[in-house]
């Protein structure tokens, strides 16, 4: 009986191609937009969180503006933070502007950064060739430098810069590596930067203060406690002037992003599901028309021995099949749109099983909800009246 009903439903849908398609359009658009929005938002979310996580989910970043008397962190402050519990390591950053020169060629407005071995150990893909700054470089205030892609290309035409000398701010360094070429999405342009050990920057160049500090947390679960302890050190070293520094816990940023995007995703899907309701009303309308048109068929079926329940089931199946076909088309459409959009804006595209189930479940549910009333109407028709309406 069920098999027959499904067959009959499909036959009826096919015999009314145009009308079935127009009715399905509501479901197609509804399911399509819900699926497209959910897939796009979840893809964008995972891209953003991946990017944030790649900066280090286990890090606490300290930015220091300082006070007029003390314009940054001293080595002593950094040591105090490094001695706190639950800390893997600290990576101070010193930033400045400088000039570079080699063999008579010079470039100015070059970003100078001082970093240490901890930074390189915790960050992937910093260099494209050569070696990173290691512990010995940091301890010995070695005069070694990593140079950006533009500098390598402009100063060392036709030569391998690694092993060559470079003059940074008039002081001679050895080039030990070349920085990874940065694309436009990166937070900082490294193509015209040089990186030297931060100890060298303090000792040789004469920088007095550290402007920023990345603290690597051992146990992410205790990130909040550790963050408070770091704050305690900072408060002391700047005499309670809270505006002189800012402290950012990556873990909490990640959580906030995820929370926001899930709210956004639900909101968008909610708005899109309004079109699903409209589509459902379209289904109900078509089913009611269909019941009226097929009154004599219903009468005949009853005369031939169809139970009211069987009539109801037949029309319910018809509406569910209609919605499911619409749902599948809508799903394919929505996923395609999401795929195109993900490729255009460069976010990741992921199709989850729950999305598939959501689309199928939603459309079947709409078929049942909006098909119920017309189906019940059909089942309650009086066979005598129904047969008479030829």
């Amino acid at each position: 009986m069920l098999k027959e009903s499904i067959k009959m439903a499909i036959e009826n849908i096919i015999s009314n191609k145009m009308r079935s398609f127009l009715t399905m359009l509501g479901i197609i658009i509804g399911v399509g937009s819900v699926i497209a929005l959910i897939t796009i938002v979840s893809g964008a979310t995972s891209t953003v969180t991946d990017q944030v996580a790649s900066m280090g989910a286990n890090t606490v970043t300290v930015q220091v503006q300082g006070t007029p008397l003390k314009q940054g962190l001293t080595q002593g402050d950094v040591n105090k933070i490094a001695e706190l519990p639950n800390i893997d390591g600290v990576a101070p950053t010193i930033s400045g502007q400088t000039t570079v020169a080699f063999d008579g060629n010079a470039m100015d407005e070059i970003t100078l950064q001082g970093k240490n071995d901890v930074y390189f150990e915790n960050t992937e893909d910093v260099i494209s060739s050569g070696r990173i700054i290691n512990t010995i470089d940091t301890e010995n205030q070695s005069r070694v430098a990593l140079i950006g892609n533009d500098i390598a290309n402009e100063l060392y035409v036709g030569k391998n810069p690694i092993g060559q000398e470079i003059k940074i701010g008039g002081i001679t360094y050895h080039v030990i590596g070349i920085l990874q070429e940065s694309d436009s999405f990166a937070s900082a342009d490294t193509n015209s930067s040089v990186i030297i050990p931060y100890t060298t920057a303090m000792g040789v160049v004469g920088a007095k203060y550290i402007n920023s500090l990345t603290v690597y947390i051992a146990d992410e679960a205790l990130a909040d406690t550790t963050t408070r302890q770091i704050e305690g050190v900072l408060t002391k070293s700047f005499n309670g002037e809270e505006e002189s520094y800012s402290i950012v816990n990556m873990q909490s940023i990640l959580e906030t992003i995820e929370e926001m995007t899930s709210i956004l995703s639900m909101m968008l899907a909610g708005i899109a599901s309004i079109s699903l309701v409209v589509g459902g009303i379209g289904i109900m309308n078509m089913m009611l028309v269909s019941v009226t048109e097929r009154t004599s068929e219903i009468g005949l079926r009853k005369a031939l021995g169809a139970e009211p329940k069987q009539i109801q089931l037949q029309f319910l199946i018809e509406s569910v099949v209609l919605c499911l076909i619409g749902g599948i088309i809508g799903f394919i459409l929505g996923v395609s749109v999401a795929w195109v959009v993900a490729n255009l804006i460069g976010t990741s595209f992921a199709l989850t099983a729950s999305t598939v189930l959501l689309a199928i479940g939603f459309s079947a549910a709409i078929g049942v909800v909006f098909g119920f009333m017309p189906a019940r109407k059909a089942s309650r028709l009086n066979p005598i009246d129904a047969l008479r309406s030829i």
């Binding site: 036959e11 068929e297 005949l300 031939l304 009211p308 005598i384």
Partner: protein, 229 residues
Amino acid sequence: MPENILEMKNLVKTYIMGDEEQVVLKGIDLSINRGDFLSVLGPSGSGKSTLMNIIGCLDVPTSGTYYLSGELIRDLPEVDLSHIRNREIGFIFQQFQLLQRLSAQKNVELPLIYAGVPEKERQERSAHILERVGLADKMKNRPNQLSGGQQQRVAIARALVTEPTILLADEPTGALDQQTGQQIMNLFKELYQEGKTIVMITHDANVAKNGSRIVRIVDGNLSEGVYNA
């Protein structure tokens, strides 16, 4: 001793039209034996459609008794009446009432679906019965590819396929020309000779005389009688 399969005693059917009560059947007594070919002859408005609806278990009497195959037909739930119709009655309508989307064979299979007959058996039985009514080569055709007479044959096959107690025909030649109508009547006579029980409702005396027995219904009253032209 002929077997009685239908028994009506003092059967009354009234409809409430607004405030007025309209008595459509005024105490019908009718008895049908297995193998009868009964013509119910009456003009329009005589109550013959109401009588047909009650015989076909599409409607139930207001008072009086109606036994079909020994079972009392009364105000039963819709689902029980549908089972009785499926088992006992083979309907043949004036307008054939075939589903245009389905092939002749699929149309014939319909009552078997509701009887819960498995697909393979349905196909065998429907093919066999279509062969019986002379449509072996038209089984895959849709109704609109068939002539009126052929469509009515499909409808007759659909009525026969469940092997019902009674074939109940409502003006079976009403939509056909005289020659085709006579062919259908000849088929009815053949079925009668095979021992099928037929109840045919008509307003046409010439059609009615094909029956082995004629009853007249006028103004809600039934009278047994010989046909007089």
